[in-house]
Symmetry: C2
Subunit: 136 residues, 2 copies
Amino acid sequence: MLMKIFFAGSIRGGRSLLSVYLQIVDILKSQGHTVVSEHVASVDLEEREAKITDEEIFNNDIGYIDECECLVADVTIPSVGVGYEICYAALKGKNVLCVYRDDANVSAMVRGNNRIISAPYKNMEELEKSFTIHLR
Amino acid sequence: MLMKIFFAGSIRGGRSLLSVYLQIVDILKSQGHTVVSEHVASVDLEEREAKITDEEIFNNDIGYIDECECLVADVTIPSVGVGYEICYAALKGKNVLCVYRDDANVSAMVRGNNRIISAPYKNMEELEKSFTIHLR
């Protein structure tokens, strides 16, 4: 099923996987989905967010999640914001898919949560396959 | 008001602030509160959690939050689990207090969230004062 997807990745927790986030957004779009949070995978995100308040960021992100059917999160890098968004989406009945590099130490609040599908990846091919399998 | 409190701190996100978590639990108890999640500030947590499944950890933690009036989180170290628990507690109508070392880069999902009180600390005296002010 083609879906409206909120992609969540670490921002203030650390941006070292930004290039992966960009590829995730590209794969999701190439599979026909709409990604409403392309800003998460944008190189100038911090610069743009510095111009608005934390309240505006919070309200924008919650608003985006509300209008989606699905949240996809990369949980490789620990992040309070990503954890918050995962819980919010799960409790609102959205589909939630969490992906992570296979060497990541992923939270039990994700791995032990039967409302959430989680899938490790070694490379972008595995990630693409995960999206094909789980987002349909 | 004396409360039943769930204390949330980073586990798989990193344990470098464990000594602070221990002091937080001690302060909360010395102020008369009950802390239901002393395991979060325990040195042998990882060892004990290795013996149970992620599903059991998830169900235990959610069960503990459900029986509390309040969640106190240290959000200095980024953590998906802590973010998840903050959102869960906030959406369940619990009091939520997030504290963080004043040099931490705290998520907008916490700082911009009017359901959550957040307070920086420089030292344990400030932390203690924060609890006195906000948990009454």
